[in-house]
């Protein structure tokens, strides 16, 4: 496997498909909290990324921003998560005109990333990891990309299609 192809859920670390997605409650803005269970009944795409402002994250969020209409076709909610604080997220989202929430896994630092098995304790930030969670709250697909490589969106779309076989392929 080349360094660019990434790895499916690192063995023994990232939560694997079939696992119940751990619930969480994290700030999406300095005065708002978002819980995973609020989205029960629709698919959720969790996008863990190392940091606001780093170049690869910028490309990745730009791509997902562009694809919001595609995610909405599956009634899916996309949530970005990093250890950056809510004020940092606010500035980043404003600068990049992001159309999806960024959650602050800030205090205790990386707690949610640890629950999902994607915290890099040696670095102090999380992996670049994707989870597709179905309407019942079960992880159906997970993927950990090399930290410097933008994982793109084809895997997410394929996983969402897997949840909704009636949805037409584009």
């Amino acid at each position: 496997m080349s360094s660019n192809t990434g790895t499916p859920a690192l063995p023994g670390t990232a939560l694997a498909p079939g696992t119940a997605a751990p619930d969480f409650r994290l700030p999406s803005t300095p005065d708002q909290l978002v819980s995973l269970h609020e989205f029960r009944g629709q698919p959720v795409v969790l996008v863990f990324y190392p940091a606001d402002w780093s170049p690869v994250c910028g490309d990745q969020t730009a791509l997902y921003n562009e694809l919001m209409p595609e995610f909405h076709r599956f009634d899916a909610e996309l949530l970005g998560i990093s250890v950056d604080g809510p004020w940092c997220h606010l500035a980043f989202a404003h600068d990049r005109k992001l159309r999806f929430p960024l959650l602050a896994d800030f205090e205790p630092k990386g707690a949610v990333a640890r629950q999902y098995g994607v915290y890099r304790s040696q670095d102090g930030f999380c992996e670049r990891a994707l989870f597709v969670i179905d309407a019942e709250g079960t992880i159906r697909w997970s993927y950990v990309s090399p930290v410097g490589v933008n994982p793109g969106a084809d895997g997410i779309l394929a996983a969402l299609e897997g949840l909704a076989p009636k949805e037409k392929k584009i």
Binding site: T5, L63, G152, G155, G162
Partner: protein, 191 residues
């Protein structure tokens, strides 16, 4: 369905595409690009050099991948290239856009079209009616499906080129595929 990470071109090159070079070419280089992206602007002369270097042995295909949330003029520019293409002047407009990346507002697009002596009314109508929006989106989604994660992204005989796009890297990768009779990309795609 846990391991999917596409690096293979999912939409084959057909006559729907804008193609420069011989149909007999051993190697097909496909670029997904954004006319307002500075990296794509930097890649433009490199692609020109690659085309000169390989001559008839290579054909080049350009597909649109406008990141419209980041680049305010990227969508209009992509539609403008397609509108010029509908009048047989795709590559001339393509070149004009990449060499004027800081002037891609509608008045400049119309100005470039004027220099190509194409039907101005038809061109203007295509822009205002967004005649080619679906076509641009089709390009974009085919890129997403093929693992395009930023611009520019190149595919050599259907396989994503993950090394840098500077001349030596791109040239070496193309030579590599040629050296294997053009089959290297296919073989790697099955691994």
């Amino acid at each position: 369905m846990t391991t999917r990470s596409s690096t293979e071109l999912t939409l084959p090159v057909t006559d729907r595409d804008h193609i420069q070079g011989s149909t007999e070419a051993l190697v097909t280089l496909v670029e997904y690009g954004d006319y307002e992206c500075p990296h794509c602007g930097r890649a433009h002369p490199i692609v020109e050099e690659i085309r000169q270097q390989f001559g008839d042995r290579l054909r080049f295909v350009f597909r649109n991948f406008p990141l419209t949330q980041v680049h305010a003029h990227a969508e209009a520019a992509a539609e403008a290239a397609e509108a010029a293409g509908a009048q047989g002047r795709f590559w001339e407009m393509h070149h004009a856009l990449f060499t004027h990346q800081n002037a891609l507002d509608t008045s400049h697009l119309v100005q470039y079209a004027g220099r190509l002596r194409i039907n101005a009314a038809q061109f203007g109508e295509a822009l205002s009616a967004h005649t080619f929006r679906d076509r641009v989106r089709e390009d974009f989604m085919s890129g997403v499906r093929s693992g395009v994660n930023g611009t520019p992204t190149f595919f050599i005989n259907g396989m994503r080129h993950d090394a840098p796009f500077d001349l030596p890297f791109l040239s070496e990768a193309i030579e590599g595929v040629m050296g294997s009779g053009g089959d290297q990309g296919r073989a790697a795609g099955q691994s």
